[in-house]
């Protein structure tokens, strides 16, 4: 009861990968375990470069379908109902085979205590927010 709200969308299965055992996650990623977290930020926008095929693993096919328009990693995770780190692994596969491209956030922001976001980016955000 104390968890965040769980707004839902149509087409989402009630089955949650989240409550499943790590074994299912192991199956989803074929046991591969390498993804560089720096490669896919939560807001990296992913775009498909090809159509899904019937021989593809279903998660890969789903990503290619969803990413016909730019889609953030975090949206994919919500759509696929998989933890972020698993989605990163799946995306790593697709990226290395050239099936997707990734639009990474510009690293302008507060990765370290000293760096601050680029004023130009912030100005753009302010204009956008004021126009809402």
């Amino acid at each position: 009861m104390s968890g965040p709200d769980r707004p839902d969308r149509p087409g989402r299965t009630s089955r949650s990968a989240r409550e499943e055992s790590p074994d299912r996650l192991y199956t989803v990623t074929g046991g591969r375990s390498h993804s560089d977290p720096k490669e896919f930020d939560l807001v990296t926008l992913v775009v498909s470069e090809c159509s899904p095929t019937i021989t593809m693993q279903s998660e890969h096919a789903a990503i290619l379908r969803i990413c016909q328009s730019p889609t953030a990693v975090v949206e994919l995770a919500a759509d696929l109902d998989l933890p972020i780190s698993i989605v990163r692994i799946l995306l790593g596969d697709l990226l290395s085979s050239g099936r997707i491209t990734a639009r990474h956030p510009r690293s302008t922001a507060t990765d370290t205590a000293s760096s601050l976001p680029d004023p130009d980016v912030l100005k753009q955000v302010l204009v956008g927010l004021r126009n809402l």
Binding site: P7, P10, S85, P105, V125
Partner: protein
């Protein structure tokens, strides 16, 4: 946690009136993030939905007890994992830029994943309920520790009146950190919170204001 009971109606006629997720424009190249953090029930999800273009979605990250994401799947097998859930909404700012707004819990175990999930965030809004100010001490402490600039927004639940000074005092908040009142249910008010944050970030990055 019983997720099934908190599911909302799925049709476009839900009371929040927000559309299901619409595709981003093909020209969108830049994703930005802002995090709204606070204690249980303080209005995080409400604020995210107030300004989001889409109905908020929920997702999660799973980590091992060591606080690592589960990249190493072989290591996960047989290890206890913990899951951190958070929700998010989205605002298309212009044809190239989209802002993601995250509603994140402030509890202790969540901060293990901060760098992994929210490094690169523009900044944060700490949402506080004056009836439970102590709930936000930890979040403020962690944000300072991570060097993430933040503002504090007091969500009005109709509790006893406190002056800004009293709240600043209770939170040990430096003068330079903006503290504003808001109503997370109001779109205008939530927009104002974001604008206050970004104004502050701008002042910091232009060197007009110094970091606390």
């Amino acid at each position: 946690m019983d997720f099934a009971t908190s599911e909302q109606p799925v049709s476009g006629t839900a009371e929040d009136g927000l559309p299901e997720r619409t595709p981003l424009s093909a020209s969108t190249t830049q994703g930005l993030k802002i995090v709204v953090v606070g204690g249980f029930g303080v209005g995080k999800t409400t604020m995210v939905s107030s300004v989001s273009d889409i109905r908020p979605l929920n997702t999660e990250e799973t980590m091992t007890q060591a606080g690592e994401g589960i990249d190493d799947l072989s290591a996960v097998r047989g290890k206890t994992t913990t899951t951190i859930a958070f929700d998010f909404g989205r605002i298309s700012l212009n044809e190239r830029t989209v802002l993601y707004l995250f509603g994140a819990p402030g509890q202790e175990r969540f901060w293990f994943l901060w760098n992994r999930l929210f490094s690169g965030t523009l900044g944060a809004v700490v949402l506080v309920d004056t009836r439970r100010l102590a709930d936000s001490w930890y979040a403020i402490d962690r944000l300072e520790h991570h060097g993430t600039p933040f503002i504090v927004a007091r969500n009005d639940f109709g509790g006893p009146e406190h002056t800004t000074e009293q709240i600043r005092d209770a939170l040990d908040l430096p003068e330079s950190v903006p503290l504003i009142n808001c109503d997370a249910r109001s779109r205008e008010s939530s927009k104002e919170v974001l604008i206050t944050l970004v104004d502050y970030l701008y002042a910091l990055s232009a060197g007009h204001v110094h970091r606390p």
